[in-house]
């Protein structure tokens, strides 16, 4: 068992001047892509490539007798990306902890995307069990990526528990609504200037992802918006471009909003202008 994400060519943290660094591993792409709900394995493969993602999320599910369990793993291994297994579907701490351990063995990684779901309507995290499970898993040597909310008091507990990355939701999983509360997410960004923050869930359009990057978020995790697009591969590329552009814009210092109009074309020298109103 390795304590690094499984990828055949891990970048180092200084490989790039603007790398995303997560638990000591650097990535040039700031998109994390889910691997579920694609029309076919082939489309998934192409979408991952088109997205440029350095990290993909995975799960574990019950295996049928007689299988050797490696088909999906081999598919992803060929893509040369880090795998981030999740605990999707877990409803209590014990399930989440056991699932994380099984994932560590299956995916040869100490990374775990920790999901502890509170209810079916929103699939929001149960923030109490989330923190408890994070504490246990950090103590067990995991590097935890907690799926959380924009709640600062929860975020602080997760950081205290040892999480070096936070994954607040934009909106409920699969809704595609974008950032339901941009004000709270902006506050969160300002409150934790040095913690890698990844928007996870709720992204429906590339402009949603870009808006989050413009707010200063470090990366975007998404799945449904690509997998259920009419053309998933093109959509993967559109998201990749949107996220890169959003990062670039956030660092290039965007203009401030104004209430009143101001001409772009210079006023001085306008022909026909005279003091009597011309």
């Amino acid at each position: 068992m390795l304590d690094t994400p499984h990828t055949t060519s891990p970048e180092t943290a200084d490989a790039s001047s603007d790398a995303l660094t997560l638990y000591g591993h650097a990535f040039s792409s700031r998109l994390l892509l889910g691997t579920a709900r694609y029309p076919s394995p082939d489309v998934l493969t192409q979408a991952v490539k088109a997205s440029g993602a350095g990290i993909v999320t995975t799960s574990l599910r019950r295996e049928q007798a007689g299988r050797d369990g490696s088909r999906f793993f081999d598919l992803l291994s060929a893509l040369d990306v880090a795998m981030l297994p999740n605990t999707a579907g877990c409803r209590n701490v014990r399930e989440a902890v056991a699932t994380a351990h099984m994932a560590r063995e299956l995916f040869d990684t100490s990374w775990i995307k920790l999901e502890l779901i509170a209810n079916d309507d929103t699939l929001q995290p149960d923030v109490f069990q989330l923190v408890e499970a994070a504490r246990i898993l950090v103590a067990d040597g995991f590097e935890v990526f907690p799926y959380t909310t924009d709640d600062l008091s929860v975020a602080e507990r997760l950081i205290e528990a040892g999480c070096e990355v936070l994954m607040p939701w934009g909106a409920p999983i699969g809704t595609g609504r974008g950032l339901a509360n941009p004000y709270a997410l902006r506050t969160m960004r300002n409150y934790f200037p040095d913690v890698p923050l990844i928007i996870d869930a709720g992204i429906g359009r590339p402009s949603h992802a870009m808006q989050a990057m413009e707010l200063g978020y470090d990366a975007i995790m998404l799945n449904t918006a690509v997998a259920l697009a009419d053309a998933p591969v093109d959509m993967a590329r559109a998201f990749a471009m949107a996220i890169d552009a959003g990062r670039l814009a956030a660092r290039a210092g965007m203009m401030d909003e104004r209430d009143m109009a101001v001409p772009s074309t210079p006023v001085a020298g306008t022909p026909f202008f005279e003091f009597d109103g011309g």
């Binding site: 579920a36 995975t58 369990g69 999906f72 297994p85």
Partner: protein
């Protein structure tokens, strides 16, 4: 002995988790992970993990996820 494997009740003669895996056709190098009664059992411990009646076994493999 009656046990539950991946949610399905079934009878088994296997005395250890490793024997059960083999009986179910999972080879030693299969990329599957296991839990018994809600707790993870590492690959290296399957051989020594003795099964008892009514045990609930999970045998899982990598899958797509979001």
């Amino acid at each position: 002995m009656q046990i539950v494997v991946n949610g399905e009740p079934q009878a088994t003669d296997a005395s250890t988790l490793r024997e059960l895996c083999e009986a179910l056709g999972f080879k030693g190098d299969a990329r599957v992970a296991t839990a018994v009664n809600g707790d993870f059992v590492a690959r290296t411990e399957r051989e020594t993990r003795v099964l008892k009646d009514a045990d609930r076994i999970e045998i899982v493999a990598p899958r797509q996820g979001g």
